[in-house]
């Protein structure tokens, strides 16, 4: 006779009243329900792709638009002017500026933090810093946008004396960089810590200093993980919306000067969605075409990041 105590699952102590057939039917119903949940995620992906492609085709069927102009055009003015122009490059230029500035800040800082946390920091300090890094990652992006508008821009203008527009790519990029910093630091730290200790010990055995071991052995060994973290952060910066909607402005232009106001792809989408435009005009459908470009870029980056990470995971198993 089995001895039942509190830790024994009830199913083992209780005689099932249902027949085996009923159990089998119940099992398969549950299986189908769970499979339905899982297939729903595929449905999401398919409907995003279907929706964006379908509506983009509708956008290009309108007389004001032209696929060639969209792909190569250097003018984006869907609202003003005699003739509307839909060339994607000014929006991509704005997005590139924000992303490049963000990565110029987040990559070195994040990498240095990750190396410090993984290789140098004592355990107690790491136990404090890692959760606070995750807390930083949990701050809503609208808060970073407010920070860019109210703190970063005045600091750059009055503190450092840089001539800036009120809305500009520079402070938005810096804020996005701060936003991406925890992503890069946290994921890179995971990658660095996953490097087996025997590699470090071998390097120490060969007479390497701590710096040698970190920079010449551990970082190269974790490089694929770091690259994947970087790609995910880039995807996040490209898709970031609230910061650029608040701080980057809404003037789409090809510019080489990040101190000017610009417009990103996401910024254009929020401008169209919050403005008083008709739901069936060409400017409304333009958000789908921009969203398609955005989706393709981030999807490719995300797939690339996942592939690199998967290969990395296999490396030390």
């Amino acid at each position: 006779m089995a001895i039942a105590n509190d830790a024994t699952p009830r199913i083992l102590t209780q005689r099932s009243l249902r027949s085996l057939g009923a159990t089998r039917v119940g099992e398969s119903l549950i299986y189908v329900a769970l499979a339905g949940c899982a297939l729903f995620t595929v449905l999401i992906t398919l409907s995003i792709i279907g929706l964006l492609i379908g509506q983009t085709l509708q956008f290009f069927s309108m007389p004001e638009t032209d696929v060639w102009e969209f792909v190569t055009g250097t003018k984006w003015n869907p609202l003003l002017g005699e003739t509307k122009h839909f060339g994607i490059w000014p929006l991509i230029c704005g997005t590139m500026w924000v992303t490049v500035i963000a990565m110029a800040i987040a990559l070195p800082l994040g990498l240095v933090s990750a190396i410090y946390l993984a290789e140098y920091a004592p355990a107690w300090l790491r136990n404090i810093l890692k959760p606070s890094l995750e807390l930083l990652a949990g701050i809503p992006t609208v808060v970073y946008g407010f920070f860019a508008l109210v703190v970063i821009t005045p600091f750059l203008r009055d503190g450092l004396g840089i001539q800036l527009d009120y809305y500009n790519a520079l402070s938005a990029g810096i804020a996005v960089g701060i936003l991406c910093l925890p992503t890069i630091a946290s994921l890179s730290e995971d990658a660095l810590r996953a490097v087996p200790g025997r590699l470090r010990e071998a390097a120490y055995g060969l007479g390497g200093t701590k710096f040698d071991v970190s920079m010449k052995v551990v970082v190269p060994a974790a490089l694929s993980g770091i690259i994947s973290a970087f790609l995910l952060a880039v995807a996040r910066a490209i898709g970031e919306t609230m910061i650029v909607a608040l701080a980057a402005g809404n003037m789409a232009r090809l510019t080489a000067d990040p101190r000017q106001q610009i417009q990103t792809m996401t910024g254009h989408m929020t401008q169209m969605a919050t403005g008083d435009i008709s739901n069936f005009g060409v400017e409304y459908f333009s958000i789908y075409s921009v969203a398609l470009v955005l989706f393709l870029i981030t999807f490719l980056l995300s797939i690339l990041g996942n592939i690199i990470r998967m290969r990395f995971q296999e490396a030390y198993d």
């Binding site: 995003i48 949990g138 809503p140 969605a273 919050t274």
Partner: protein
């Protein structure tokens, strides 16, 4: 500090920053996140259980399962604003298949009434009607409701009739050719297709954003359950679902809850997808039903932060935006603390 008082937490947002508050936005955030959690948790946990606990043995099904996993990882990287566009088109407008928000194809829980101004001049009466388009036949002595909610009998004055003399009769008299304005009343269970710019559409959109996060964290929690427990249950003759129900899930619940709370804290701060759906920022009250107009805290902050700065005023919209941010951060901090607490307690229990 004027920006952080109890009035600030309950007042509606107004044109003047001095007495503007976040009341409706706070209520809206609670509604949207609660409905989002109700929809998202079963779906996300179900998907995670399927991927983690029902791994097929067949090589092709295994590849399919790996593809599902890759798809979920990719969904986690899709910018939230793209989900916003999907939500706008699929949930809010429903591809235009079900009419528009103003003229929905199907709705339940709405009652209509026509409103008339009586010949007395200041009193109003209401006549319930079945639908927006119903042509109301005005008949002598028909039932109506006066402005105070009391039932009365209408007195209809035809083109040839004389006007009554006393005020009491005049207060329930309308002309036979009067055309009242239509009023629509919503019950708490009001529901319609398409969902429109309401709480439900926003919740479903947020669900899309949060779903991959919940799936991934639940999978991690399930993965952390020692396989020996599952093998033991299988050895005792448990079916796969019995293993999940009585062994894996109870052991993984703290991890699942931690992940769910962290996902919800992301949902509370998420603004971009809801911005695409469209919110009513200058709304006087919180939502009353699932299809109701709403505002949420991050978008309230966004609109205030956008306002021009008046350097003469003592209190700008930027200041109350900062107040809203403090409230938002306090909520997030509370959520994160609860999550950390659960994690700590669970660790103690298992070791």
């Amino acid at each position: 500090m004027p920006a952080l008082s109890t009035d600030f937490l309950t007042n509606p947002p107004g044109p003047d920053p001095i007495d503007a508050g976040i009341g409706p936005a706070l209520q809206g955030s609670v509604w949207v996140c609660a409905v989002c959690a109700l929809v998202c948790l079963p779906l996300g946990i179900g998907t995670a259980i399927f991927l983690q606990e029902f791994q097929p043995r067949n090589i092709w099904l295994r590849r399919l399962s790996a593809l599902l996993q890759l798809n979920i990882n990719n969904l986690a990287g899709v910018p939230s604003i793209v989900y916003g566009i999907l939500g706008l088109t699929a949930f809010s407008m429903m591809f235009g298949l079900f009419g528009s928000e103003a003229d929905p194809l199907a709705e339940t829980g709405a009652t209509y009434r026509r409103q008339f101004i009586t010949e007395e001049g200041s009193e109003i009466v209401f006549v319930p009607v079945a639908s927006r388009d119903e042509v109301l036949e005005l008949t002598q002595g028909m039932d109506a409701i006066d402005g105070n909610g009391n039932p009365i009998k209408l007195n209809i004055i035809g083109p040839d009739d004389d006007f009554p003399d006393d005020d009491e009769t005049l207060a329930r008299s309308i002309l036979s050719d009067a055309e009242g304005g239509i009023l629509k009343d919503y019950r708490w269970y009001y529901f319609r297709l398409p969902f429109g710019k309401g709480v439900f559409a926003a919740s479903l959109t947020l669900m899309l954003v949060i779903l991959p996060v919940i799936i991934i964290s639940t999978q991690e929690a399930l993965r952390a359950v020692p396989p020996s427990l599952k093998r033991a249950a299988e050895g005792l003759g448990c079916t796969p679902w019995q293993v999940v129900r009585h062994v894996s899930l109870p052991a993984a619940i703290p991890g699942i809850m931690t992940g769910a709370i962290l996902a919800m804290s992301r949902a509370i701060g998420e603004a971009a997808p809801i911005l695409m759906i469209g919110v009513a920022v200058y709304i006087a009250r919180g939502p009353a039903h699932l299809m109701d107009k709403f505002s949420i805290l991050p978008i309230q902050i966004y609109y205030w932060a956008q306002q021009p700065i008046d350097s003469d005023a003592s209190l700008n919209f930027q200041h109350i935006a900062a107040g809203g941010i403090i409230v938002l951060l306090i909520i997030l901090f509370a959520f994160n603390s609860i999550a950390v607490l659960i994690r700590q307690l669970a660790q103690k229990r298992l070791t």
